[in-house]
Subunit: 459 residues, 2 copies
């Protein structure tokens, strides 16, 4: 994996952007941040570092996937946020497009995979009506076992299973991924002897893709989880280096932090030039937003900080967002993701060679065109004084995706250090949860008082 | 359609946000903007206003959809940006989820619809390999007829068609939507007698959803385009009002503009609480970014302006972005979209009633839960001093979507007036296009000079 940050630097941006001296200035601070992260890792606080090395869980996952898991042709994950985004990213990156539309043969007899990451009844009703429950495994994923959306889905699914199967049969269609000790899902799993996998207590939802949360669905659809974890481990190894200039996660975090705090970029766009990596950018969006978007600093001061991550897709968003990125305010960075080798390419035939506005395309490939567009866009942004960098993966496979995800997770805890916030908590979502409980009539919670009279409504 | 802007106002936000006096102060300016827009409309500059009333084109579209169009079971749109986003939004809003996975019967025998809005060979290759060309219509959509991505796709598709059909047969699988007079696609259509539909010359890509660009694919999959246009016409009528407080598009534009310029919100999030409206937010993202993200004001001064639109999805993104929205910087507005009536709802059964952390859900419906979460999130944002507003559609149907899309298009040209930029141009994308031509070896264009030696790369 390479990180090309030429276009983040003032030397490429006609004076705008970051100075080399800014990076050097942050290097000492990075040394402290790195040490702090290593210390928190050693103390067990940053559990995600250990995920590539959890031999027992990995064996358990493989055993299930290669055993009981073989008997389903549809896997449905009930999960939201950190229980959904990583799985969706892995599926899109590492399996062919339109996976669920392919025939059994085209899927090499691996199952279809759906992730129900919302509670819109107009999606869930028709979906449950059309799938064949007898061939479906529901993987209920909630670390706490109390996530309202996931538990609502689970109750609905459970009723349908109960209507069709006896207790033994029902059990065979459920797999819980949850805390090893605590919570309602664990309680039910124990009481009813339902299969389950653990989410380590020291691994938060948004850092859980390389736990059973992401690995089990991945293994079920034929993703090589060992290679994925080997890639993550290789990146972990690279990032044990406390020298900023040689630590890719450190450099990514430092560049984004400097761009925000020194150059006014409160918006961090991640823009893969690859359909396969769009949902990886969406997964990153949670990681970056929820970890860094904080009211309080570590020592309790009000800081109201955090960059806003945005996902975009090249070349598509050249026809939607790039006008703004090139001409609008100097308030963003763009991080491009690209594979060095596209894999399967498609030649563009030389038809209509008499028409100059299309004939230049013939004889090239789609891979060459998308690459040319990425290079041209990065260069045009730089010429317009806009900070951008490019993360190049060798190719899109398990090893590279493992590296990339680990790099971004490590970058997130480093960035927590730079911003001086706790990257693991999310106190801001508590209030809305409690208000929801109130509106749903849960005992002990109050609904918001919304007096219609005082509202300003244009009808 | 209702616009509830209570939570944009300082009265709801403990002093943060917009003052009623700011809105009143902008009302006079809106009068001028409104007049200017009406004048440009009358002069033919803002062609999108006329789309709901284009009887001839609509008749032509219906004729094709109800005639020749019936013989295909797969429609593939080749298009990007404005040629793709509106169609995707209409399909998601107005047809059942997972449309392309449904059986013929479940689709009421309407065709599948794919929009190839990118040039990733790892998507396009496998896709073209698996569809049955003999039952497929390719709708090539490019106003200019020169869009590199779309023309590359077209050449690839055309070669495949040529391999399978003679000239007559080939023609039957193509339909061009393009400028009525100019451009390569028009030239080919005329020379080869290929079916075509017009994009009015005074309608730009991002304002074209209610032209043949969006209407033809919509009609082919059974969307009631007359109701869609009736909704748009009803909104157009409402927005002829020059009184800001009674013009919904005016209020939407004014609130966003004031939030940006008076209250520092350079990020405008659109967050539907409905899976059906997520791609409508994506469609809006182009409209808002490309129209308002401008270097130059109307009179040629450097302004480097434009808010950054972001799409988010409720309830899903409560578990990804809401922590940042509630606790991070005061740099955003959130516009919620919601249907007043969810349509098909799903009850949550009262199972596990002995467990308090799930039992409160039983007896409610998913529609109630998603609504409670939206209300709770809006209230929690307001209590944290964060600007938000709610657009409520009566339901999600053709008439409401027509209203919403027209409202957002009109709001965009009003916002162009407030920001004092031309909402119709996109000069910033020209440079990257030319550099791409250079890299692809098109005669007369230079490739960017990228000297590897001077690059800063961490490998």
């Amino acid at each position: 994996m390479k990180l090309d940050y030429t276009n983040m630097l003032s030397t490429a941006l006609d004076g705008r952007g970051i100075r080399e001296a800014d990076i050097d200035g942050l290097a000492a601070r990075f040394g402290e941040v790195h040490e702090d992260v290593e210390r928190r890792r050693a103390s067990g606080e940053y559990g995600f570092f250990g995920l590539p090395y959890e031999r027992d869980t990995i064996a358990e996952i493989r055993k299930f996937a290669e055993g009981v898991g073989q008997s389903f042709d549809t896997i449905v994950v009930l999960g939201i946020g950190g229980s959904a985004l990583g799985t969706l990213a892995l599926q899109q990156a590492l399996k062919p497009p339109h996976w669920n539309e392919l025939t059994d043969e085209q899927r090499d007899y691996f199952p279809r995979l759906y992730v129900l990451d919302n509670i819109d009844p107009t999606t869930i009703g028709p979906f449950l009506d059309r799938i064949d429950l007898s061939r479906t495994l529901f993987n209920v994923v909630s670390k706490s076992g109390a996530t309202a959306e996931t538990m609502a889905q689970y109750l609905i699914v459970r009723e349908r299973l109960q209507q069709q199967f006896d207790t033994d049969g029902l059990r065979g269609h459920l797999l819980f991924t949850t805390d090893p000790q605590k919570g309602v899902l664990r309680e039910i799993a124990t009481a009813e002897n339902i299969a389950s996998l653990p989410v380590p207590p020291n691994v938060g939802g948004r850092f859980s893709v390389l736990s059973a949360v992401g690995l089990l669905p991945a293994a079920l659809i034929g993703i090589d989880v060992d290679r994925l974890l080997a890639g993550a481990a290789a990146m972990d190894e690279r990032c044990r280096n406390g020298d900023l200039r040689n630590n890719p996660a450190g450099m990514f975090a430092a560049l984004q932090f400097l761009a925000h705090t020194r150059a006014g970029a409160n918006i961090h766009v991640m823009m893969p030039y690859s359909d396969r990596l769009y949902l990886t950018a969406d997964w990153f969006r949670q990681l970056w937003a929820e970890s860094l978007g904080k009211r309080k600093s570590r020592d309790g001061r009000d800081v109201f900080t955090g960059p806003t991550p945005v996902k975009a897709l090249g070349a598509t968003d050249q026809h939607s967002q790039v006008q703004l990125y090139i001409e609008g305010p100097f308030d963003k960075t763009i991080a491009f993701l690209t594979p060095a080798a596209v894999g399967l390419d498609v030649p563009i035939p030389a038809i209509h060679s008499e028409l100059p506005s299309v004939s230049y395309l013939g004889g090239h490939t789609l891979g060459e065109l998308i690459d040319a567009e990425r290079i041209a866009t990065a260069d045009a942004l730089a010429r317009s004084g806009r900070m951008n960098m490019t993360i190049e993966l060798p190719r899109i496979d398990e090893h590279a995706i493992g590296q990339l995800m680990m790099m971004l997770e490590i970058a997130t805890v480093y960035a927590g250090g730079f911003y001086d916030v706790d990257p693991l908590d999310q106190p801001g979502v508590e209030l809305a949860k409690q208000l929801t409980y109130g509106l749903m009539g849960r005992a002990g919670y109050a609904a918001p008082e919304i007096t219609t009279a005082s509202r300003r409504i244009l009808e």
